[in-house]
């Protein structure tokens, strides 16, 4: 009976949370600093930025695309937000401009990928470099300081015991998960990842669906970047360095497949938490950040291996 029970488990759903809680358990045993309210609150706040990027990345990856421009976009959005806020002295204006900037970057990616049908990797490699360049050009490579202090509330404030970024990230998690799981749009994103031609023949405007996925990513990246800019109350031209890879890693760890068709928002959220906890736990244990990079790399390869294995088994 026990064996039956084991066989009945859907590892695809259980595997990631199980790994996550095992990891938490190990860190708890290894250090008494890990399982404290203060530390966990801190981790939650840190990963909330990555969460925004990863939600968007989930849509894009599930639809069969990729967006490696989000990291550089964060840098550029940070500069735009900071610049606009300083020049106007108006906090909401700066925030809006930042989110708009992100949405436009997403729109540009989406148009190039869906209308002109360029490969997403190449397109976003291009926009990544462009965003990086513009971000550095914006203030000649210097950070933008002197933002209104009130702006810092978004990144550093609390509602009750919970950091505001965590609350925003959670709300957007619910919205994103809802879209992917319960709406026709989400269904089309998954279907396109599975067989784009079939979706097109069903009379669905696949180009529009893909365009929206990139726009969503840009929009969410905009929000993440604004929150992060608020946290440091300055525009910083290298703010998002390497974040695209973390976001992709989060989606893949969470069960999303590069090439499309599979992935859930809950999985991605666990992927994000996994990355956050690993970094935090290893920090607490005094493991250098260089070694952390290696650990995360190994985890990515492991989850992709598992994914490939699973696909093979399904195809039998």
């Amino acid at each position: 009976m026990f064996i039956q029970w084991i066989k009945g488990i859907d590892w695809q759903k259980v595997g990631i949370p199980l790994a996550f809680f095992t990891l938490c358990f190990i860190f708890t045993l290894s250090s008494n600093k890990f399982l404290t309210v203060r530390n966990l609150t801190n981790v939650a706040r840190q990963i909330s930025i990555l969460a925004f990027l990863s939600y968007g990345m989930t849509f894009v990856i599930v639809s069969g695309g990729i967006d490696i421009s989000v990291g550089s976009a964060v840098s550029l959005i940070s500069m735009v937000t900071g610049g606009m806020m300083v020049s106007s002295g108006n906090i909401p204006y700066g925030i809006l401009m930042g989110i708009l900037c992100g949405t436009l970057i997403g729109g540009a990616n989406g148009l190039l990928v869906s209308l002109i049908q360029l490969p997403p990797f190449i397109v976003t490699l291009g926009t990544m470099t462009i965003c990086s360049g513009v971000a550095l050009l914006y203030a000649d490579g210097m950070p933008i300081v002197g933002l209104p202090q009130g702006f810092g509330v978004i990144g550093s404030g609390y509602i009750g015991p919970i950091p505001i970024p965590v609350i925003i990230a959670f709300i957007f998690f619910l919205v994103s998960a809802f879209i992917l799981r319960f709406t026709a749009y989400g269904r089309y994103v998954l279907a396109i990842g599975g067989n784009e031609e079939a979706v097109r023949l069903s009379g669905i405007n696949t180009k529009l669906i893909k365009l929206i996925a990139y726009v969503l990513t840009g929009f969410l990246t905009g929000i993440g970047a604004v929150v992060l800019t608020s946290r440091i109350i300055s525009g910083y031209p290298n703010l998002g360095l390497g974040m695209e890879l973390q976001a992709i890693a989060a989606v893949v760890i969470g069960g999303g497949t590069l090439g499309g068709g599979y992935g859930t928002m809950t999985g991605t959220l666990f992927g994000v938490m996994m990355i956050g906890v690993i970094q935090n736990g290893l920090n607490i244990l005094g493991v250098s950040s260089f070694v952390q990079m290696i650990v995360i790399g190994v985890i990515i390869i492991t989850s992709v291996t598992y994914d490939v294995y699973r696909k093979k088994r399904l195809a039998e």
Binding site: F182, A184, R187, A191, G194, N195, A198, L201, I204, G261
Partner: protein, 254 residues
């Protein structure tokens, strides 16, 4: 079933050329309710061009199309679908990563008032549809990936039919399938025919065409060689028509 006097679809003197190549020269075919019309011929005979004009992928240079006796214009795939003409493509037109109801309702999902997908209704309707078409699929919740090629092709076909197709165009529907799987698709075609749906079947397999069709249209080099009733012809005769492109007096000496 074959008593209807006007054909459900009639293509009259259709011509089409691509650059200097005359792909079709005044080809006329018709199809009745509950009939399977096989179209055979070598590659480049114009079969695909002909059905692509019917499905709206191409437009004819000259010629007319009548739907139930009334002249219609088919300029886009949408026009064709609006008339109840559905095309089943050679490759499987399903998203393998989704389950059966999701595929059946792809592009016409049932939603509740706030726009949330109504999975339960879609599953229920899918079950009813499969029952009506006598298709057995153990679990609707599995990804289509886990089903056999024949089951998938059947789902693609029934999906087209379920949404009020009157005419099915099938281009090599079983080319990628094994014997048993082919049998499954054939059963479904027979069933659909009995329900009064007209089917145009393009196939290289003369055996299949003879088994399923009521009439056979033979094409060669963009010209209709002839249309034969299945019980008034033989495989040899049809083969001769395919090869010689002539109707009278085929190779009968040996």
């Amino acid at each position: 079933m074959k008593v209807a006097l006007t054909p459900i679809i009639e293509m009259k003197e259709i011509s089409k050329h691509f650059g200097g190549v005359q792909a079709l020269r005044e080809v006329s075919i018709d199809l009745y309710e509950g009939e399977i019309l096989g179209i055979v011929g070598h590659n480049g005979a114009g079969k695909s061009t002909l059905i692509k004009i019917l499905s709206g992928a191409y437009t004819a240079d000259t010629g007319k199309i009548y739907f139930r006796g009334k002249e219609v214009e088919i300029r886009t795939p949408k026009d064709s679908k609006a008339l109840g003409i559905e095309t089943i493509y050679q490759h499987l037109a399903l998203a393998d990563n989704l389950n059966v109801p999701a595929n059946v309702f792809l592009g016409r999902e049932i939603k509740n008032r706030v726009g949330i997908l109504d999975e339960r209704s879609m599953e229920k309707e899918t079950r009813q549809m499969l029952e009506r078409l006598k298709l057995k699929i153990s679990s609707l919740k599995v990804r289509v990936l886990k089903l056999s090629g024949g089951q998938r092709q059947c789902i693609a076909i029934s999906r087209a039919v379920y949404f009020n197709a009157k005419i099915l165009i099938m281009d090599e529907p079983t080319a990628a399938l094994g014997v048993q799987e082919t049998e499954r698709v054939h059963d479904l075609m027979q069933h659909l025919k009995n329900e009064g749906i007209g089917i145009i079947l393009i196939s290289h397999d003369l055996h299949d065409v003879f088994k399923l069709s009521d009439r056979i249209a033979v094409m060669k080099n963009g010209v209709l060689v002839g249309i034969k009733k299945i019980n008034e012809t033989t495989k040899d005769e049809v083969l001769a028509m395919i090869i010689l492109g002539k109707q009278e007096k085929p190779l009968k000496q040996n």
